[in-house]
C-alpha cells in the first residue's frame, strides 16, 4: 500500500472541493477581495483622508482586483489543472452552442478513430497483448536442433523430455505438450475439437492456477498410462452452460469416456494468442489420440518417437546464451548415452511463437511485429487522415467566423499561446468525444469480425470484449494525432497576432483565380479527394479480388459435387475397422440413386490444411530436381468424380486400391510432370517420395498425369500435386466426394440426407464431421473468408473515405459561396447572369476535384503495385477499378459542387450588397 502523508490528503481534498465547487470558490474569493478593498478605504479614511482620496490610495495599493485573484488562483494547488478545466469548460460551452458542427465533427472523428481502433484491437490481441502466463518473459520454447544442419529441428521423445526435465539446471520448470485433434461425441454427433496433450506440470510451468479442479498427476502423465481424465477450457465450459457441477462429469472423447477433473483459467490460450484448445488431456492418453496426421500408434515411451514440444520457464535472471551453453553440455551427454536416437542433436532455447505451436525455433518474425502492425494500420490511418483533414477545414471555416472573438481576445492582451491552447482544447475535446464513439464502433466492429471468424476456424477464439490499456492508449494516441492535424495547425493560423487579418483574408478570397484555387482550404480538399480516391481504388481491388476468388475456377468441378468428412479414429476405431467401413461404404454410396460417382480422398481442396512432400525423379532420371508437391491419398474414381481431366496415362486400378497391391504407383499433375520431366514423358517414369523420417523413400511409378488444381486462394500459386492410391496408404480422416445428378440446392440437400442415412446404415457410430455441397464447403473456407472479410473492411473504409471527402468538399463550397456573397452581389449588379455565377463557382469546385483526382490517381497506381503482390488475381493497374473509382468520386463531387453553385446563382444582388 502507498502511504499518503496527511498534507497530501488535505491538498487533494481541498483541490477536490475546489474543483467541485469551482464557482463557489470563485465567488468567495471575489467577496474576500471586495471586503478587503472596502476595509482598506475605511482605514484610509480613519487616517484622515477624504473618501475620494482614500479610494484612490486603496486602488493604487491594490494594483487591480483581477490580478490579485489571478495570483491567488496560481498559488493554489492544481492551478494548471484548474485552468485546463476552465478551458475545457469554455470549449464545452462553445461546442454546445454549435450542435450541428459538433455532431458532424464527432461523427467524422468517430469513423476515423473507430476504424483505427478496430484494427489495432485485432493487432493487439494477436501480436501485443501479453499472454495469460505468469512472467511471460521467462517462458521460452526448448528445441532440438540438428548440429550438422542448424535449420532442421525436431520434436522431443518422452524419454528425452523426462531426462531433460530432471537433469537440467536451466529451467525452474519444463513442460511438454502437443496439439492434436480429438472427436468429442455428444448424443449421436461427433465434433472434432483441438486437444492439447500436456505434461502434469504444464499449467505450473505457465504459472497459472486452474479456474476449478486439479491439474494432472505424474501417474496420469506416464506414457500409455491411459487414465482417461480431462481438463476443459474456460470457453468450452462457458459454451456448455457454465455448469457449476462440471467436475466429475464425463466426456466421450475418441470413443472413450473421460472424466472432467478441472477447468482451465479464463483467458488462458496456452502459448499462442487468440485461440484456445477445447480440451487438455494428460500425456498418458496420447495413444488414444495420436491421429494419422502424425502416424500414431507408436508408444510415447519410445525414445525414437519424437512427438513433444517443450516449453520451459527459465530460472530468474538466466540469460538465453547461458541457458544454451548448459543445454548443449546436457545434449552431448545424452548423445553419448543414446547415440541411436540423439545423434547430432543439440538443445537450444528460443522465444515462443505466439502464432503457432511448432518443433521449430521459429518466431515467425517476432522482430518484425512493429512492421506488421504498421502495415495493418496503414490503411485505417489514411481514413483517419482524411477525417482529420476534413475537420481541419471545418475548424478553419469556423475559426474564420470566430475571427472577431479571437481578434478581441488578442487585442485585450490574451496571449497567442492561451488562444492556441483554447482552440486546441476545443479540438481535443472533439477528439475525445470522437474517440469515445470510436471505441464503441471498434467494439462493435471487433465483435462482428470475431463472430464471423469463429464460423470458419475450428478453434475457440478468446477475444476480450473490453478494450485493455494498450487499446485505450492507442485510441488516445489516435485522438492526439488527429488533434495535431486538425486542431493545432488551424489554431496556429487563426491566432496570428494580426488584428487586420480579417480584412486581408477577404482580399485573398477576392484575389486572382489561381491563388484562390490553391488556397489552404482548397488544398486540404484536394488532399482529401486524392486520399479517398486511393482508398476507393484499394477497396475496389479488394472487392474485385474477393469476387474473382468467389468465382474461382479451381480445376475441378463444383456445382454437382457433395463432400462428406468422416473419421473412424475419432470414435476410437482401429485402422482395420476403418478399412472395413470404407470398403462397405463405397459400393453402397455408389448404388444410391442420383449418385453418379464416389471417391475417397484424404485431403480436400480449400480444407485449410495441406500436406506437402518433396518428390524427385528416382535414380537414373537426370532431368529436373526436387519438387515440393501437395500430397493426397485417393481412390481410383477421384479424378472422374471431381471432373479433373486425365491428360496422360491412366488413373489407379481397382486392384491398386484396397487390395494392397505390391505395385507402387502414383498419379501426378501437369505441373509436377513439367517440372520433373520437362520433355513430357512422365508416364512410366519412377519417382521417390518421402515416407516419413528415418524410412527409405517410397519408389513410385507414375501411371498418369492429370490437370492441375488449385487448393487455396490466399498464399500464392498452385503447387504441383501427387496422388497415391487409397488402400496402399490409409488415413482414417477421409473426405467422401460424390458427383450427383441433382442440380439445385434443395435437391442436393435432399441427396445429402440420403448420404447421411447410408453412412449411418454402414456404421451408426462413424463420426460425420462435415456433410455439405462442395460449393458450401468452398464458401465456408478460411481462404474465402479472408478475401471476403478483407473486401468488406476495405469496402467500409472506402465508403467512409468517400463520404468524408464529399462532406469536406461540400462544406468548403458552401463556405466559399457564403464568403463571396458580397463579391457575387457586385458581379451580378454589374451584369453577370445567374448562369455565369453558377459556372464560376462550379468551375472552381470542379478544378479542385480534378486536381485531387489526378494526385489520387498517382497514389492509387502506387498502392496498386504493392497490393498486386498480396491479393488474389489482381493486377497493379486495374482499369475497371480505377475508372469506376474515379467516376464515382467525380460524380459525387460534382453534385457536392453543384448544389452550392446553384445557391450562389440565386444570390440577390440587392440583399448581398446590403448584407455588409
Amino acid at each position: 500500500m502507498f502511504w499518503f502523508p496527511a498534507s497530501w490528503l488535505q491538498k487533494a481534498a481541498s483541490l477536490f472541493r475546489r474543483l467541485r465547487n469551482r464557482d463557489q470558490a470563485e465567488q468567495e474569493l471575489d467577496d474576500e477581495v471586495q471586503a478587503y478593498f472596502a476595509i482598506l478605504i475605511e482605514r484610509n479614511m480613519a487616517r484622515g483622508l477624504s473618501r475620494e482620496d482614500a479610494a484612490r490610495a486603496a486602488r493604487i495599493e491594490f494594483e487591480g482586483p483581477e490580478q490579485v485573484k489571478h495570483k491567488v488562483r496560481e498559488a493554489r494547488t492544481g492551478a494548471v489543472m484548474e485552468s485546463i478545466l476552465r478551458d475545457i469548460g469554455y470549449a464545452a460551452r462553445i461546442l454546445r452552442k454549435a450542435p450541428g458542427f459538433t455532431a458532424v465533427a464527432v461523427l467524422t472523428l468517430a469513423l476515423g478513430i473507430g476504424a483505427n481502433t478496430t484494427i489495432f484491437s485485432l493487432a493487439n490481441v494477436v501480436l501485443l497483448k501479453p499472454l495469460k502466463i505468469n512472467n511471460p518473459q521467462e517462458v521460452v520454447g526448448c528445441y532440438s536442433v540438428d548440429t550438422h544442419n542448424p535449420g532442421v529441428s525436431r520434436a522431443f521423445s518422452y524419454p528425452n523430455y523426462a531426462d531433460l526435465r530432471d537433469r537440467n539446471s536451466v529451467f525452474s520448470s519444463l513442460a511438454a505438450h502437443n496439439l492434436t485433434q480429438a472427436g468429442l461425441t455428444t448424443g449421436d454427433t461427433t465434433h472434432r475439437v483441438f486437444a492439447d496433450v500436456v505434461s502434469s506440470n504444464y499449467f505450473a510451468t505457465a504459472g497459472v492456477a486452474l479456474f476449478k479442479g486439479r491439474t494432472f498427476t505424474d501417474a496420469e502423465e506416464k506414457p500409455d498410462a491411459g487414465i482417461p481424465v480431462a481438463i476443459v477450457s474456460y470457453p468450452y465450459w462457458e459454451k456448455h452452460g457454465s455448469d457449476p457441477e462440471q467436475l466429475g462429469k464425463t466426456l466421450r472423447i475418441n470413443g472413450r469416456t473421460f472424466t472432467v477433473i478441472g477447468i482451465a483459467p479464463e483467458g488462458f490460450t496456452g502459448t499462442t494468442a487468440l485461440v484456445s484448445s477445447d480440451l487438455y488431456l494428460p500425456l498418458g492418453t496420447y495413444s488414444f489420440l495420436a491421429n494419422e496426421l502424425e502416424e500414431g500408434g507408436q508408444s510415447l515411451s519410445l525414445r525414437a518417437n519424437a512427438r513433444l514440444i517443450l516449453i520451459g520457464r527459465l530460472k530468474p535472471g538466466l540469460a538465453q546464451r547461458d541457458a544454451d551453453a548448459q543445454l548443449a553440455l546436457l545434449a552431448s551427454q545424452m548423445e553419448k548415452a543414446y547415440p541411436a536416437d540423439n545423434k547430432n542433436q543439440t538443445f537450444v532455447v528460443h522465444p515462443l511463437n505466439r502464432l503457432s505451436i511448432s518443433p521449430n525455433p521459429d518466431t515467425n518474425g517476432a522482430e518484425s511485429v512493429p512492421l506488421v502492425i504498421l502495415a495493418m494500420m496503414s490503411l485505417p490511418a489514411v481514413v483517419l487522415l482524411i477525417a482529420s483533414l476534413n475537420l481541419a477545414n471545418m475548424m478553419l471555416a469556423r475559426g474564420a467566423a470566430r475571427h472577431k472573438e479571437i481578434a478581441i481576445r488578442l487585442a485585450i492582451g490574451g496571449g497567442r499561446g492561451r488562444i492556441v491552447r483554447q482552440l486546441c482544447t476545443e479540438g481535443f475535446l472533439l477528439a475525445i468525444l470522437g474517440g469515445a464513439a470510436g471505441l464503441l464502433i471498434a467494439s462493435w466492429g471487433n465483435a462482428l469480425l470475431i463472430r464471423s471468424l469463429v464460423s470458419v476456424i475450428p478453434f475457440d477464439v478468446v477475444f476480450p470484449s473490453r478494450p485493455d490499456i494498450r487499446v485505450l492508449a492507442a485510441t488516445m494516441a489516435f485522438c492526439l494525432l488527429s488533434t495535431m492535424v486538425f486542431g493545432l495547425w488551424p489554431a496556429w493560423r487563426l491566432s496570428r497576432p494580426d488584428v487586420s487579418m480579417d480584412l486581408k483574408a477577404r482580399g485573398e478570397d477576392a484575389g486572382e483565380a489561381s491563388r484562390r484555387l490553391f488556397s489552404r482550404r482548397n488544398v486540404l480538399v484536394m488532399a482529401q479527394i486524392s486520399l479517398s480516391l486511393m482508398m476507393l481504388a484499394v477497396s475496389g481491388l479488394f472487392v474485385r479480388s474477393a469476387m474473382r476468388a468467389e468465382d474461382v475456377k479451381p480445376g475441378f468441378s463444383i456445382e454437382h459435387e457433395l463432400v462428406a468428412e468422416v473419421d473412424p479414429s475419432l470414435a476410437g476405431y482401429s485402422e482395420i475397422r476403418g478399412r472395413q467401413i470404407y470398403a462397405a461404404l463405397l459400393p453402397r454410396l455408389q448404388n444410391t440413386p442420383g449418385v453418379e460417382s464416389v471417391a475417397l480422398a484424404w485431403m480436400v481442396p480449400f480444407g485449410g490444411s495441406t500436406v506437402v512432400e518433396p518428390i524427385r525423379p528416382a535414380a537414373g532420371s537426370p532431368q529436373g530436381g526436387e519438387v515440393f508437391a501437395e500430397y493426397n491419398i485417393v481412390t481410383e474414381d477421384y479424378f472422374k468424380t471431381l471432373g479433373i481431366p486425365l491428360l496422360l496415362g491412366r488413373s489407379f486400378l481397382p486392384s491398386e486400391t484396397f487390395s494392397g497391391s505390391p505395385q507402387r504407383v502414383a498419379v501426378i499433375d501437369k505441373l509436377a510432370a513439367e517440372r520433373l520431366w520437362p520433355n513430357g514423358d512422365a508416364v512410366g517414369k519412377h519417382l521417390h517420395a518421402d515416407a516419413g523420417p528415418g524410412k527409405p523413400p517410397d519408389e513410385l511409378e507414375v501411371v498418369g498425369v492429370v490437370g492441375t488444381v488449385q487448393e487455396r486462394i490466399v498464399g500464392g500459386e498452385s503447387r504441383p500435386d501427387i496422388y497415391v492410391p487409397f488402400g496402399q496408404y490409409y488415413r482414417a480422416d477421409t473426405h467422401i466426394h460424390l458427383k450427383v445428378s441433382a442440380s439445385g440446392r434443395e435437391a442436393q440437400i435432399r441427396t445429402l440426407e440420403t448420404v447421411r442415412r447410408k453412412i449411418r446404415e454402414v456404421d451408426a457410430g462413424l463420426p460425420v464431421l462435415e456433410l455439405k455441397t462442395l460449393r458450401d464447403h468452398l464458401d465456408g473456407s478460411l481462404d474465402l473468408w479472408v478475401e471476403e472479410t478483407g473486401a468488406r473492411i476495405l469496402g467500409m473504409f472506402g465508403a467512409i473515405a468517400l463520404l468524408l471527402a464529399v462532406i469536406g468538399l461540400y462544406g468548403v463550397r458552401v463556405y466559399t459561396v457564403a464568403r463571396r456573397t458580397h463579391e457575387i452581389g457586385i458581379r451580378m449588379a454589374l451584369g453577370a447572369s445567374s448562369a455565369d455565377t453558377r459556372r464560376m463557382i462550379l468551375r472552381e469546385g470542379l478544378m479542385v476535384t480534378a486536381i485531387g483526382l489526378v494526385c489520387g490517381l498517382v497514389l492509387a497506381l502506387a498502392i496498386g503495385r504493392i497490393l498486386a503482390g498480396f491479393l488474389y488475381d489482381v493486377r497493379a493497374v486495374d482499369a475497371a477499378v480505377l475508372l469506376s473509382a474515379i467516376l464515382l468520386l467525380a460524380a459525387v463531387a460534382t453534385l457536392a459542387c453543384y448544389l452550392p453553385a446553384r445557391k450562389a446563382a440565386r444570390v440577390d444582388p440587392v440583399v448581398a450588397l446590403r448584407y455588409e
Binding site: Q10, V33, A35, I39, E42, E61, E63, K71, V72, R76
Partner: protein
C-alpha cells in the same frame, strides 16, 4: 509586495503565522500589523498577501472564517490552527538557526 526590503522566500509566511499567533485578524489587519511590528520595513500589499493567505490555508495552518467588524462590515478573519501553531514554532527555531548562522557568516567576513 515589500517596498522597503525584499522579503526572503518563506519569510512572509512566517510573519503571517507570527501575526496570527496572538489573535485572529482580517487581511488588512494582518498587513497593518506586519507593517507596524517591522516598523515599516515590510509593507505587504494584497498582491502578495492574498496568495500567501490562501497557500497557508490550503496547507491547513490557518483557517479563514467570515465575521463582522464593529461597524457591521463583513470580513474574513484568519486564525492559526493547531498544525499552524506547530509549524510556527518549527519555523521560529529554523529562523533563529538561519539568523544566527547568517550573522556569524557576515560577522566573520566583515
Amino acid at each position: 509586495m515589500a517596498r522597503s526590503a525584499e522579503l526572503l522566500q518563506g519569510t512572509l509566511d512566517l510573519l503571517i503565522l507570527r501575526t496570527l499567533e496572538l489573535r485572529s485578524l482580517h487581511g488588512v489587519g494582518i498587513a497593518d500589523r506586519i507593517e507596524q511590528v517591522t516598523h515599516g520595513v515590510f509593507i505587504v500589499g494584497p498582491g502578495s498577501l492574498f496568495p500567501a493567505l490562501h497557500r497557508l490555508a490550503e496547507r491547513g495552518w490557518i483557517e479563514g472564517q467570515w465575521g463582522e467588524l464593529e461597524n457591521g462590515r463583513r470580513a474574513k478573519f484568519y486564525a492559526l490552527t493547531a498544525p499552524g501553531r506547530a509549524q510556527l514554532s518549527k519555523e521560529k527555531r529554523n529562523w533563529r538557526k538561519v539568523f544566527t548562522a547568517m550573522n556569524q557568516a557576515l560577522g566573520e567576513e566583515s
